[in-house]
């Protein structure tokens, strides 16, 4: 049985540092297994969040060797043998303790999005092809790795002006729903701050559910915003015909 050196961030709001732990490694182990082994054998008070160990609950988000990842989906054999593995909490969220961060800001953003609102006389019939797009977005497990990596939040602290990729995905799932009757384009442009996204695709790179966040959600939403606010011919036509959407 081989061993591997882990550096795990330990601390709280006041400060912290990377602490070394040597872990006995077995075939098929993931980073979360190693963290549990450390908890069990070396540091009983090591704080981490987890639930499913199956990449489905979105609880175990962290930064492994600097990359935002789910600890339960990150296999040790993804790393070169002998390479030290560094585990840090998500850096864009306030620290609670060790690997646990306060992600409650996300829930306040979520409340700003008007939920699914069908027309009063809706016929509840949908074709599969009409819900394919929304279903991709419904795969989201709310791990918030995309929110963590997004530079609008991580680097520029624009939490008060930008919903972040996870919630643009949620808006996309509602806007593209065949039975929804609301128009959230104004919300996207103003409060949602979709123009702050510069489509550099880090959200897509880290999404463990492999949702095409930028290509299938954000860019199509940006195009809907263009239709309404930036396309001069379309705006002129709308003024002339007195038409609106939805």
């Amino acid at each position: 049985m081989s061993t591997r050196l882990f550096k795990v961030w330990r601390g709280d709001k006041a400060g912290g540092q990377l602490v070394d732990y040597t872990v006995e490694v077995q075939d098929g182990m993931v980073v979360l297994d190693a963290i549990h082994q450390i908890q069990r054998e070396q540091a009983h008070d090591l704080a981490c969040r987890w639930n499913c160990k199956a990449a489905k609950c979105g609880s175990c988000s962290a930064e492994v060797n600097g990359k935002p990842r789910l600890m339960c989906k990150t296999r040790l054999d993804d790393f070169v043998e002998g390479q030290t593995i560094t585990v840090q909490p998500m850096k864009a969220f306030p620290i609670i303790r060790d690997l646990v961060t306060d992600v409650s800001w996300n829930y306040t953003v979520n409340k700003k999005i008007p939920p699914f609102t069908p027309k009063p006389d809706t016929t509840w019939l949908m074709q599969q092809r009409d819900v394919d797009r929304s279903q991709e977005f419904r795969k989201c497990i709310e791990c918030f790795l995309c929110q963590n990596v997004c530079h609008v939040l991580r680097e520029h602290d624009l939490e008060d002006k930008f919903f972040g990729p996870r919630f643009l995905v949620r808006v996309a799932s509602l806007e593209m729903h065949p039975l929804d009757s609301l128009d959230r384009t104004a919300l996207l442009k103003d409060e949602g701050g979709i123009g702050l996204c510069n489509i550099t695709k880090c959200c897509t790179e880290v999404c463990p559910e492999e949702i095409h966040i930028t290509d299938n959600a954000i860019i199509p939403l940006k195009e809907r915003v263009v239709d309404k606010y930036y396309d001069p011919i379309r705006i002129a036509l709308r003024v002339l015909t007195g038409g609106g959407k939805k």
């Binding site: 990359k67 850096k91 620290i95 009409d130 510069n198 880090c202 290509d215 930036y230």
Partner: protein
Amino acid sequence: MSDSTSVLDRKGLGVTSRHDTWWLSPLLIFLGLVAFGIYSTWAAWQGKYYVDTVHGADYLSPFYSPDIHSLLGINVPFSYAFLILWIPLGFRATCYYYRKSYYRAFFLSPAACAVGEPAGRKYKGETAFPFILQNIHRYFWYLATIVLAFLWYDAIRAFLFTGKDGSLHFGIGLGTVIMLVNVIALTGFSFGCNSLRHLVGGKLDCFSCSGSARTRYKLWGGVTILNLRHMEWAWVSLFSVGFTDLYIRLCAMGIWHDVRIIH
């Protein structure tokens, strides 16, 4: 979220906990775009050697198509390529893929994921001038498609060669093949455009609610296939357009002799 900065650094130029070669991809993109920028500016500046008519060929460089100079008899005091090139330049500069690549490689915003950015800039993304202008991308698509139609004409025209008696006959040269491959690459790039994907069908919320919606769903599906590889099409077509100009230029200058596959 500022209280975690003191304990876990994440901001500032190049600040990261990543151990991999995250800088390689932006560096290669930077070099690739700079190399193309230098070559294309130089080639556009020349104002000559853009048509190869050696041995009956009629190859027109994509940088100089449509040939406004011959078509309309327009004379300008500079290379007329500049009358055209703002269209493909604007099209690529506002393309969602190129935006990603130059925001990363030139503006380091961010250079790579989970890597800190240069400090001291007030970030506005695409909400303020100049980047708010990215929203007119679809108009560049319309214009670029007109140019693309001329490039198809040029590629088909490259199958015709002028004989010694002045008559036209069918033939294929290496230049013909290069021009054809180039225009296919450019078409693959243009027709995988995200704005087009929206306009042909993506803007609909229901794909099966009418006959036209069903047709548009198919169109959307077609654009989506190309869109999945939009980055690859972007690079292949960028390289092919530069290489096509170079090939025709070398032939026109007499440095290289076009290989005739079918006379």
